[in-house]
């Protein structure tokens, strides 16, 4: 029983903020002359009311799980990774590159190679920010933001100048052996949506993070660093190494996120494919409070909003959904602060005496 209470407590804040955000959103919808109930009905029935909609939602949620994990694991180490967007792009490009370069490999080699390439490229990219912090003390927020600009310019250069398919903004297609199959083809469910196997990789990544944090010595060191840097130093943890490792893992997770589009949907890398999934990942991690399983739920909810934005477009501008998203994020952050305040008297008093 007490455990249930704990989860209820943890989800109370986010759930309440969603409700409040929808109420405020309703005011906007009323203001532009529509019935909020109709709009919300459309939003949820088109997304969760049929198998195609669900497929679309899960397809949209997949990269958000990866970027959410990315930001979450960095937070665990006390680091703020704003760089998931860049890491996602670098990883996606690497995965595409592996797919159109090693065309002759069989699937059972090429798919692991693509996964590896995506993870390693993202990890490498983020670890630059980590190394700069470890070596010169420059703040990771600045480092990762700057690396985002460089990453986007870099992939754009590579697509436009090195791996150009004329008259497009994408790379050559990947080998069919690098394709992650769509669920509608395998199962017949979710007909018409590009929801694909990379979702399973995302779930595996969540389990991996859970295991890493809970059970491994590295995870213990990462969380210790995040909670109390001084204690980590006194426990003779290698803080530079942990900083690099924490960001490298973050970059690796984000890097995998591009496979949803590259290997699961279009089968090439395209400039601008990421649609800010890297930034949305920050919100996902914040709301999920860095819990890898909560990341799945929150990412799916954001998937509903993203795909739902398209479906209600027939009735109201899809910016309404963007407003909703923004409101939810703001409210979650401020409300969870309120909730913490309320618990403060009970939770923190012993530390005082």
């Amino acid at each position: 029983m007490p455990h249930w209470n704990k989860y209820l407590n943890l989800s109370a804040g986010p759930l309440l903020s969603i409700i409040v955000a929808m109420l405020i959103g309703a005011v906007f919808i009323l203001a532009i002359g529509h019935n909020p109930l109709d709009v919300y009905y459309l939003l949820f029935s088109e997304t969760l009311g049929n198998s195609y909609g669900i497929g679309q939602v899960l397809f949209k949620a997949t990269p958000l799980i990866f970027t959410g994990l990315s930001v979450a694991i960095a937070f665990k180490a006390g680091l703020f990774n704003i760089g998931a967007e860049g890491q996602l792009n670098i990883g996606a490009f690497a995965s595409a590159w592996a797919g159109f370069t090693f065309v002759s490999l069989p699937w059972y080699l090429l798919i692991p190679l693509s996964i590896l390439a995506a993870f390693a490229a993202g990890a490498f990219w983020a670890s630059i920010a980590g190394a700069l912090k470890a070596k010169f003390g420059s703040h990771e927020v600045i480092n990762t933001i700057m690396l985002n600009f460089i990453a986007l310019a870099l992939v754009s250069y590579l697509v436009n100048n090195v791996y150009l398919v004329p008259a497009t903004i994408h790379t050559p297609g990947i080998s069919p052996n690098a394709v992650l199959a769509r669920f509608d083809i395998i199962t017949g469910l979710f007909k018409g949506s590009p929801f694909n196997i990379s979702f399973l990789i995302a779930l595996a990544a969540c389990i991996f993070m859970f295991y890493l944090i809970k059970i491994t010595p590295l995870g213990y060191e990462i969380t210790t660093l995040g909670f109390n840097r001084n204690a980590a130093r006194y426990a003779k943890m290698n803080i530079s190494r942990l900083t690099v490792a924490g960001l490298a893992l973050a970059g690796g997770f984000a890097g995998l996120g591009g496979m949803n589009f590259v290997n699961g949907y279009k089968h090439y890398f395209e400039i601008g494919f990421s649609e800010n999934a890297g930034y949305v990942g920050i919100a996902v991690a914040l709301i999920a409070r860095n819990n890898p399983f909560a990341v799945i739920a929150v990412a799916i909810f954001f998937g509903v909003l993203e795909y739902g934005g398209l479906t209600i477009n027939t009735m109201v501008p899809k910016e309404i959904v963007t407003i909703l998203q923004g409101l939810i994020i703001l409210l979650v952050i401020s409300l969870s602060y309120l909730f913490d305040k309320k618990n403060f008297r009970i939770k923190h008093s012993p530390a005082i005496g």
């Binding site: 059970i215 060191e221 109390n228 923190h348 005496g353």
Partner: protein, 502 residues
């Protein structure tokens, strides 16, 4: 005509979790204008009771009357408005702010457009300083102050808010005897102008010397209400522990063994690149306890960090068991500030036992921590050190101050290392727990102990030899039985130094 008591707490019960009563039907009354001591073992419920009075915790049952009127105190803000102020067991100052800024924080007077009006505040604080004959530089950053002075800032903070009732939770734990005397003078002064003071302490001699009344708690219940002039140390001890507890430990001056620690010409820089340890040399043998006496802030923490491989030395050498130290050389370290350096509040006891030992083979295989083993080990330590509550899964943040310290001591003293560095290892511990830690240090035959403390009683009781550190240098080295408190005090304050090389 009998005056209304300043505080009446009646039938106070506070339950944590399902049914743990940290306070169990406590009746507590304090007369106006008196110093009232609250004593009891670690975890007896002292801080809990005071946190209830200060509005940080709500009682499960019970009523509170302040100056005769029943009050519901739901927050520190309400407590302050009722004239109640509290100085916590752990300081709550912001190190990077100045003394003045810390004092007015949360109660800032503002000028037009909400601009902070520091000069008005400074005036008020200066008046306070004058009336209590305290001298502090208001513009100094708190991080540069000795703990004794920080303590004063905490008290000023409370006085600034016009408190009539002051709660001091273990204010003397971090003070030297001299600083304690100064504090007690201030308290007497406050009493003489009619303030009411509640003082928590584990040091019974202090309690006997300064208080008017004493309330004893044990396992959340009141076991005694005493008038100080009519009681004795023995009587209080029995009420605290429930039996006649005698601490008869003494250093036996056994013959020492092999050299364990050898420090030669050691110089160390602090974070701001000042040399705070200057060409220090000494050696320490197995079975020996070497005391390092000194007022806090004279280079002790940099010395300790260097010996434990946590800080680079700028010159000199450190050898443990004949080997130059490396990052991996194991040392048992109990740092002076345990909350900051030796604990992770968010972890349970088990997670804290692992801290610094995460690479020991017994606890970690390559890819997984051996939690079964760690848990069993933790349970063993909990039993051995009598850590309460005895649940290894409880967050260390919800242990009483003394029990938190016990976890650190337990973890470090159970390490397999030939050198133990212990700074104020019994700070905040009750009589029994202190005796247990002292006993553990004294019975080491194959290990060497470096005991860093500003508590001369502790040093004289445990050490074979005592070195005095002043301004980064070792200014004196004594056989314990050839020196005394007075002499050490002169060396600690720099009034005397030995000239011969050590």
């Amino acid at each position: 005509m009998s005056q209304e008591p300043a505080i009446v707490m009646e039938g106070i019960t506070r339950i944590f979790g399902e049914d743990f009563k940290a306070n169990d039907s406590i009746d507590f009354r304090v007369r106006k204008g008196t110093i009232h001591a609250l004593v009891g073992e670690n975890g007896a419920g002292k801080s809990t009771l005071m946190n209830i009075l200060y509005g940080l915790l709500s009682p499960t049952y019970g009523t509170i009357r302040i100056n005769g009127l029943e009050k519901n105190i739901n927050s520190p803000r309400e407590a302050i408005s009722l004239g109640i102020g509290m100085v916590h067991q752990h300081f709550m100052l912001i190190e990077t702010l100045t003394v003045l800024e810390n004092i007015i924080l949360g109660d800032e007077s503002t000028g037009p457009f909400g601009r902070l009006d520091l000069s008005k505040a400074a005036e008020k604080v200066s008046a306070l300083l004058k009336s209590f004959r305290i001298s502090i530089d208001l513009n100094e950053k708190v991080e540069n102050l000795a703990v004794g002075v920080q303590q004063k800032v905490e008290i000023l903070k409370v006085l600034y808010r016009n408190a009539d009732i002051l709660i001091l939770d273990e204010p003397t734990a971090v003070l030297t005897p001299q600083e304690t005397d100064v504090l007690f003078d201030t308290l007497e002064e406050l009493k003489s102008i009619g303030k009411t003071i509640i003082l928590i302490s584990h040091k019974l001699l202090e309690v006997l010397s300064v208080s008017d009344y004493i309330t004893v708690l044990r396992h959340g219940k009141v076991t005694g209400n005493l008038k100080t002039s009519e009681t004795s140390k023995e009587e209080i001890s029995v009420l605290i522990t429930g039996d006649e507890f005698k601490d008869s430990l003494q250093q036996e001056f056994r013959s020492a063994g092999e050299i364990v620690l050898e420090v030669k010409g050691l110089s160390v820089l602090n974070d701001k690149k000042f040399e705070t340890v200057k060409s220090v040399s000494f050696e320490l043998r197995a079975g020996e306890i070497l005391g390092i006496a000194g007022v806090e802030g004279n280079g002790q923490s940099e010395l300790i960090e260097a010996i434990c491989g946590l800080r680079q030395m700028s010159s000199g050498s450190i050898k443990i068991d004949g080997q130059s130290i490396q990052n991996t050389t194991p040392v048992s370290l109990i740092p002076s500030d345990k909350l900051k350096f030796a604990m992770v509040k968010e972890y349970d006891i088990t997670g804290n036992i692992l801290l610094g030992r995460q690479n020991e083979e017994q606890f970690s295989k390559a890819l997984a921590i051996n939690y079964d083993r760690l848990r069993r080990f933790s349970e063993q330590l909990i039993e051995e050190y009598d850590i309460r509550p005895s649940d290894p899964d409880i967050k260390i943040g919800s242990l009483s101050g003394g029990n938190q310290q016990k976890v650190v001591a337990a973890r470090e003293l159970s390490k397999n290392a030939s050198l133990i560095v212990a700074a104020h290892p019994t700070r905040g511990l009750d009589i029994k727990a202190s005796a247990f830690v002292h006993g553990t240090l004294l019975k080491q035959k194959t290990k060497a102990v470096l005991l860093v403390s500003s508590d001369l009683n502790e040093l004289l009781k445990l050490s074979n030899r005592i070195a005095v550190i002043y301004n980064g240098k070792i200014t004196g080295l004594f056989e314990t039985n050839e020196t005394n408190e007075k002499e050490l005090g002169m060396y600690m304050t720099g009034m005397r130094t030995m000239n011969n090389e050590l």
